[in-house]
């Protein structure tokens, strides 16, 4: 069961999300927060697997709330940690990218179908693959060069670079393993090692760094 905290300043959005998610057996909505400050304090108490976070809110907005929630400590519940999934009206929103850089694991449009919403929540909770890799690629295309060329100096091995491309394509450990003729366990090791070398907290951040540094050209995609 994936526990979810719903954060939005509009009561209708919260009730709509709750109603959509209530019928799903894999998901349990454990709380609702009305703004960023409320989200931070509730996340601290409820320790949900996933925070569904609105970006634009009065007071502390979704970007700042994401930073605060993720900064509270990476593994304060026996290795389990809260992940943030950003909810937005428009995919081209600059604030969404800010939230991703602040550490959100992915983003989702409010107009997504209920099934997509549920799948994205479960995917984020598992933490193995990117949510909507194409959308992240499109967003990143506007920010090439933002991180400089640091990634080329990170000293990734060739295997790690291949795994990083696999992550950018949205693959999970098993899929990347099948592509590269490796075992899923080996892929997991490579991922852990490349995250450490890049100094990022999760796979989404690693892919964003790959795009921003130009290591992968977001205009052409990870397969190039």
């Amino acid at each position: 069961m994936v526990t979810v905290l719903v954060v939005d300043d509009d009561a209708l959005v919260r009730s709509g999300l709750r109603a959509i998610l209530a019928g799903r057996c894999a998901i349990d909505v454990v709380g609702e927060a009305v703004d960023g400050a409320d989200a931070v304090s509730q996340a601290r108490v409820l320790r949900p697997d996933v925070v569904l976070m609105d970006v634009r809110m009065p007071g502390i907005d979704g970007i700042q709330a994401t930073r605060l929630i993720l900064g509270a400590g990476p593994a304060d519940d026996g290795g389990r940690r809260t992940r943030v999934l950003v909810l937005t009206t428009f995919g081209s929103d600059e604030y969404v990218y800010e939230a991703l850089r602040a550490g959100a694991a992915g983003f989702l449009l409010k107009r997504s179908r209920p099934e997509e919403l549920a799948t994205a929540i479960v995917t984020v909770a598992e933490g193995e693959s990117l949510v909507f890799p194409e959308a992240i690629r499109t967003l990143a295309a506007a920010h090439v060069g933002a991180a400089g060329r640091g990634l080329t100096r990170a000293g990734l091995t060739q295997r790690e670079e291949e795994v990083l491309r696999g992550l950018a394509r949205g693959g999970n450990n098993a899929e990347i393993a099948a592509d590269l003729y490796l075992s899923p366990e080996t892929v997991k090791t490579h991922v852990a090692s490349l995250l450490a070398k890049l100094g990022v907290r999760d796979r989404t951040q690693a892919v964003i760094a790959a795009y921003e540094s130009g290591f992968i050209d977001p205009r052409r995609g990870p397969s190039s």
Binding site: D10, R67, E94
Partner: protein, 414 residues
């Protein structure tokens, strides 16, 4: 080439007038009024067509068609300086055309004849007949050198013509300032509209979609919940329609309504600097100021607006991306230049979260600086932003010199 040929054609009547005037000068001894008359008529024949609006319009079209400029039609009411510039351009066009005609019709055939004579193909009597006095070797060399000089001059003038066209037929500094001001205002209005649609209709559609999905999920197992959700859909749809009406009214209305929103009226300028700094301080940014701006310095409106936008953008970026929640601001005006400098420490370590929010934050990532830079360059200034040691610095220079031109702004209609 075609533009020069056109100039040659236009200059033909003026050559005749000049020849006629020169004849009149020869009667100066007999009739002292003749030279004065000749000069007056000659100048008049030049000045009248040169100062006509229709001539300027024709020249503008000719330049766009034949020189590849993009001047378009003149949209502002012409000032005296515009008329003089257009007349200068007309004269330049005629002069270049005349030069073209002289090279093509006189010098080149003469050269050909000279060469043929030397080669022994044409009898030397021809050159003596065609150009009496040009048959000696010295003058022949002079003719060749003259052709080369005129040809070079013609090529030089030809390549410079498009630039001169922009200078003489394009908008003046005052008009460009007004254009920049207008486009900035339109941009602000468009941004406001986009924001309004995003916040109202975009959000309403998201809510409608969500609530419809919720109603579908509970249609059978919880009809009451489904009914509540459908009510929300109906209400939200109704409200969104009203908001869309309001947004479309802004689009339909060609004149910005100052009553509805301040940003559609006069954009804010440096006189509202204190309020701007205050709002950033309230948002948690410690702003240190060094404003040695003399009250007697007359800052043109358009410069004042751009300086305000620059400060707003730089401080917004300092608040969003900077470290340590502080920024320092320096503004000076000397030698006719307004210098604006903002710097802030920038985070190499993950920045602490920021408290509060600015009333009207610019777009993050410094994207707002791009449009700002374009407008400042248009004003003859420059804008630079980048790291300087441990600081992120934004430096802007805006010339105050355009004051006289900017005063014309009111007379310019668009």
């Amino acid at each position: 080439m075609a533009f020069l040929a056109l100039g040659a054609l236009l200059s033909a009547p003026y050559v005749l007038v000049t020849v006629w005037a020169a004849e009149l000068y020869r009667f100066a001894a007999v009739n002292p009024i003749a030279p004065v008359f000749a000069t007056a008529v000659g100048l008049g024949l030049f000045a009248v067509p040169a100062s006509l609006r229709v001539t300027a319009a024709l020249e503008r079209t000719a330049s766009d068609e034949l020189l590849g400029t993009r001047l378009g039609a003149q949209t502002a009411r012409a000032e005296l300086s515009d008329v003089l510039r257009a007349a200068a351009w007309f004269a330049a066009h005629l002069g270049a055309g005349l030069l073209f005609a002289v090279v093509l019709v006189v010098l080149v055939p003469l050269d050909v004849l000279l060469v043929l004579t030397w080669a022994g193909i044409a009898p030397s009597a021809d050159i003596a007949r065609a150009a009496p006095g040009f048959d000696g070797p010295t003058t022949a060399v002079l003719v060749l050198v003259g052709t080369a000089a005129c040809g070079t001059l013609l090529v030089g003038v030809g390549t410079q013509l498009p630039r001169w066209a922009v200078l003489l037929l394009g908008p003046s500094t005052g008009q460009r300032l007004a254009l920049a001001e207008r486009s900035a205002r339109l941009q602000a209005q468009r941004n406001r509209l986009a924001r309004e649609l995003h916040d109202s209709v975009g959000h309403a559609l998201a809510v409608t979609t969500l609530q419809a999905a919720a109603a579908r999920a509970h249609l059978r197992d919880d009809p009451d919940a489904a009914e509540t959700a459908l009510e929300a859909v109906e209400e939200t749809g109704r409200r969104a329609q009203a908001e869309l009406d309001a947004a479309l009214a802004i689009l339909r209305d060609p004149t910005p309504d100052p009553g509805r929103d301040g940003s559609a009226a006069q954009p804010p300028g440096l006189d509202e600097l204190d309020a701007l700094i205050g709002s950033f301080r309230a948002a948690g940014l410690a702003v240190e100021t060094d404003l040695s701006l003399n009250a007697s310095v007359n800052v043109p409106d358009v410069v004042s607006h751009e300086a305000y936008r620059l400060l707003q953008e730089a401080l917004t970026n300092a608040l969003r991306h900077g470290a340590g929640h502080r920024a320092s601001l320096r503004m000076t005006a000397d030698h006719g230049v307004l210098r604006v400098h903002v710097d802030n420490p920038f985070a190499s370590q993950p920045g602490e979260p920021l408290r509060g929010r600015v009333p009207e934050p610019g777009r993050p990532g410094g994207l707002g600086l791009i449009g700002l830079r374009e407008r400042i360059v248009l004003l003859g200034g420059r804008l630079e932003a980048g790291p300087r040691g441990a600081l992120w610095a934004v430096d802007g220079e805006l010339p105050l010199g355009a004051q006289a031109d900017a005063a014309h702004e009111g007379a310019v209609r668009w």
